[in-house]
């Protein structure tokens, strides 16, 4: 089993609904977020392109945050989800520095926090909150080992890219282009 997410940049309108849904689902504290929107503009008027991306932890196969964690608080669970055990985390911040995606933040209560792919929902067979709220249906989640999962189907007929492939992290967020 390998959980992954595909983000359709041809559909995303950058509304930030995924960010708000994550906050209310996961009680992300004031001033922090587990997912965010990136807008990149290229070209010059009137030949302009925009790419809008909903980003979060890439739940990498080769996760530097897990490798550098001195206490083992950062770890990988079944399905490849990278998790942080809050009461084992000493808040040293090594993982924050090591992440090429800037996906982690220091929680005011002293531990490091980030996207869990809404494991508490996924365990019950639900989608992450961001996926279920997206008005454009631009987020696809599921098991890459299951050819009928949403994410497998989304990746099948489209070109995609990952972010910072040169980092060698084998990220599991796929951006449909």
């Amino acid at each position: 089993m390998r959980y992954a997410m595909a983000i359709d940049t041809a559909k995303c309108v950058g509304c930030g609904d995924c960010v708000v849904a994550c906050q209310t689902e996961n009680n992300v504290p004031h001033g922090y977020c587990r997912d965010w929107i990136v807008e990149t503009v290229s070209g010059s008027y009137p030949n302009v392109q925009i790419e809008l991306r909903s980003e979060r932890c890439n739940h990498c196969d080769n996760a530097p945050c897990v490798r550098c964690c001195p206490t083992g608080a950062s770890h990988i669970v079944e399905g490849g989800i990278v998790m942080v055990t809050h009461n084992e985390c000493i808040g040293c911040g090594a993982c924050i520095e090591s992440c090429p995606y800037d996906a982690r933040y220091s929680h005011p209560e002293g531990y490091v926090d980030k996207c869990t792919f809404c494991k508490h929902r996924v365990d019950k067979g639900q989608n992450p909150a961001c996926v279920d709220v997206c008005p454009t249906h631009c987020l696809h989640f599921g098991d890459l080992d299951d050819p009928n999962s949403d994410v497998s189907k989304a990746l099948k007929n489209r070109n995609w890219k990952v972010l910072a492939p040169e980092a060698g992290t084998k990220p599991q967020l796929y951006f449909l282009i």
Binding site: V13, V28, V133
Partner: protein, 754 residues
């Protein structure tokens, strides 16, 4: 300078906003739960869902408010059975709990008082006292000047209750800025053509269209939920999107064609499109033959409106005009030239909406799949009440006889006109109730609004937040938020007739009250209790629901209920069915006999609009997906997604002015009005060099909005020049021009500390 109604900042004790600078390109999230914060995600099974429908915007998506075992509202999730949202709320709906948890909410009734030294302030009052004061003022007004001297401005569901009260009281002056400042020209233009208007939610069949044409309509930035979902579905199905916008909008970025039009020239493009479609014989001949009136006149009218003619005006190349016209025709009848929503731009907006309607008629899209469907709503009977008294005069008496005959709703700016005394006209309004709309931001020409307010005997504001308008009130009533109250059923038309229930998920916070209670209390005090014969709104809702084969109990369980269609088909002209349109000729009027009779152009003409003076740029404004008007800027969740607006400036212009990305500037308009606050510059290739762009609804002046105060600039205060639509009184607001001030200007705002 002091006026008789000084602007009062609701609390003198309020401290400045705690500025939390956190901004990169990332949209950072905020939790709302404050000291009730819980670290573990709430499991849905451990919570109780209560049905509601959203009130953060007019789309009114139905959802479920989840409440945990401690009684805390944790989240709002869309109702899967609701066609407005299909189970997915937009960021504002998802962040709607921010409205409930906002610490800056109006907490108690407030009454304006004057100290012996003349300073005015708000005194905290009990509900009984505040309601007594309002009833006394309304009674006095009714006795001394007649009930027609009262006017209501309203926005949102609760406005229906205040409307009922105002009608029972005897006044016809019930207005909403959503007409004259927003969709009015579209409704009048489409009604003149098809005999019916576009309605809300719009009857646009985006889901099934093969070609969607957006003219200045930035779906995706305006978060009209159902439309965004359908646009995404249409993209998935391979539909062509053609976006006409001087700005590279999000919709433009998802479009096959982006036409970066010179602002204020849309009419020329529309006429050229008609020219191509008619003279290349691309129109739907059977449809035009069977349903329309005035085709020959139209053909002659657009004879010289060639793409080459339009090129010089619009800067859109003739070949692109032809190619896009052919794309539309190839998709016909499953093509949709979207009527837009906020269309009060240049003062000839009814005529531009007419041109859009005509283009749709030529393409045969009205009443067709992928074009405009035929919506239907559930008829919910009114709870019995005596007939409303017949008013003897109205706001229209403030104008010469015969003016605005085609106006189908009350003009909010007309209410202002009818309040400012004029020796030649019957301007008689003396009391206003303002419900759920921040007039300082929703009406243009603030000077005029303030002049009208200063002529009032009384101004009552009912709201949940201390918006800028509340500072002008004599009495402020704090309504509880939509998550804490019942309201009338939602009955908006859709493909399937559908109703939705809103019920409270928590008790009202602070000393706030639901509007049904407020209006009933006022009615009792005014001797109008016969109009409110129900004990409480649950009794009213249950009575109504039982009349349509449901009950309050059932609706509490399901939230949304669909009914079978009773009338015509959804696509009632799909197979050229016989149909009589509600126009003078019974046909779709390409040539409008109604407009002709009233002395207006029966066929739309291109009008040249003012151009920016040297060193000035056209001020365009629009929406951000995470905010609604000016009402959400203090909502903690949404504030953190976007906590100020910026002014978009083309890099060439930025170079010329030596302005850098991220720098703050003040904007000064053609009338010398300078923005109260500085605004951050966004240097971007997404905007033309002859215009600037900003998101509406920022630059709040009330310090009591601790997060929103002073953040960004208000487009509304820079819209001092209004071009009135002669057909329906719409306020064209997009011929205002601004320039940049890099230094803080002298204080141009009159401030009265309290």
């Amino acid at each position: 300078m002091k006026t008789r109604r000084d602007f009062i900042k609701i609390s003198a004790a309020g401290t400045g906003a705690a500025a939390i600078g956190l901004h990169s390109l990332k949209l950072r999230g905020f939790s709302l739960l404050g000291d009730e914060n819980e670290q573990t995600p709430a499991s849905d099974e451990e919570m109780t869902p209560y049905p509601t429908y959203c009130e953060v915007c007019f789309w009114k998506c139905a959802g479920w408010t989840y409440v945990d075992k401690k009684g805390n509202i944790r989240k709002v999730i869309g109702n899967e059975n609701d066609p407005h949202c299909n189970g997915r709320l937009c960021p504002r709906g998802t962040g709607g709990i921010g409205m409930y948890y906002d610490e800056d909410r109006l907490k108690h009734p407030l009454i304006r008082e004057t100290k012996p030294d003349g300073t005015q302030y708000f005194r905290k009052a009990s509900w009984d006292e505040a309601l007594d004061v309002i009833a006394e003022k309304m009674d006095k007004l009714r006795k001394e000047h007649g009930p027609e001297c009262l006017a209501l401005f309203s926005h949102g569901t609760g406005g229906k209750l205040v409307s009922h009260l105002v009608k029972a009281y005897g006044s016809p002056n019930i207005s909403a800025p959503s007409f004259a400042q927003c969709r009015g020209p579209r409704e009048v233009g489409f009604t003149a053509t098809f005999g019916e208007d576009v309605m809300s939610p719009e009857r646009t069949d985006i889901r099934d269209t093969k070609c969607l044409v957006l003219i200045g309509s930035h779906i995706g930035e305006n978060m009209h939920n159902g439309q965004i979902q359908e646009m995404s579905a249409a993209l998935e199905n391979g539909a062509t999107i053609i976006t006409v916008d001087p700005r590279f909008s999000t919709a433009a970025s998802h479009s096959k064609y982006w036409l970066p039009i010179k602002p204020a020239t849309d009419m020329a493009l529309l006429l050229a499109w008609m020219h191509v479609i008619i003279y290349e014989n691309l129109y739907d001949k059977e449809y035009v033959e069977k349903y329309t009136f005035g085709f020959d006149e139209l053909k002659e009218h657009v004879k010289n409106k060639t793409p080459e003619w339009a090129y010089g005006l619009t800067t859109i190349e003739p070949e692109i005009i032809r190619r896009t016209a052919r794309e539309m025709a190839a998709a016909s009848p499953r093509v949709l030239v979207h009527p837009g929503r906020h269309v009060t731009w240049y003062g000839d907006d009814t005529q531009r909406s007419r041109a859009i309607a005509i283009l749709n008629a030529l393409l045969g899209s009205w009443g067709r799949r992928g074009g405009f469907y035929n919506p239907e709503s559930v008829h919910v009977p009114n709870y019995p009440h005596p007939p409303y008294p017949k008013p003897k005069r109205s706001w229209k008496d403030a104008y010469p006889p015969g003016k605005y005959k085609l106006v189908s709703e009350v003009l909010s700016t007309g209410i202002c006109d009818a309040t400012i005394p004029n020796p030649d006209l019957d301007c008689h309004l003396r009391g206003w109730i303002v419900y759920g709309t921040n007039l300082m931001a929703s009406l243009p020409d603030q000077k005029k609004t303030i002049a009208a307010i200063n002529n009032l005997d009384f101004l009552v504001v009912i709201d949940t937040m201390p918006m800028d308008i509340t500072g002008y009130a004599d009495v402020v009533l704090p309504e509880c938020t939509y998550l804490e109250r019942y309201d009338f059923l939602r009955t908006s038309p859709h493909r399937e007739p559908v109703i939705a229930l809103r019920m409270p998920a928590a008790k009202p916070k602070y000393d706030s009250k639901p509007n049904w209670w407020i209006t009933k209390q006022l009615a009792n005090r005014l001797g109008l209790q016969d109009y409110f014969q129900w004990e409480n709104i649950e009794e009213l809702l249950d009575w109504q629901l039982k009349k349509i084969g449901s009950s309050l109990d059932e609706m509490k369980r399901v939230g949304v209920k669909k009914y079978p269609r009773e009338y015509d088909d959804l696509y009632n002209l799909e197979n050229l069915e016989d149909f009589e349109f509600n126009t003078n000729t019974g046909k779709i009027e390409l040539y409008s006999t109604e407009l002709e009779m009233e002395g207006f152009d029966p066929l739309p003409n291109y009008t040249r609009h003012p151009e920016p003076p040297e060193g000035y740029y056209r001020l365009n404004y629009g929406r951000a997906p995470m905010h609604t008007f000016s009402r959400t800027s203090n909502n903690h969740n949404l504030w953190d997604l976007m906590n100020e607006n910026s002014v978009w400036v083309n890099p060439k212009v930025a170079d010329l002015w030596e302005i850098k990305n991220g720098q703050y500037v003040w904007l000064k308009n053609q009338d010398g009005i300078v923005s109260s606050f500085p605004i951050k510059v966004r240097v971007t290739e997404r905007i033309r060099w002859d215009s600037v762009y900003m998101v509406h609804g920022f630059g709040h002046t009330d310090k009591k909005l601790r997060r929103a105060y002073g953040r960004g600039a208000s487009d509304s205060e820079l819209v001092s020049k209004v071009y009135l639509d002669p057909v329906m009184g719409g306020t064209g607001m997009r011929s205002n021009f601004v320039t940049f001030l890099k230094e803080k200007p002298g204080n141009n705002r009159e401030e009265v500390e309290s």
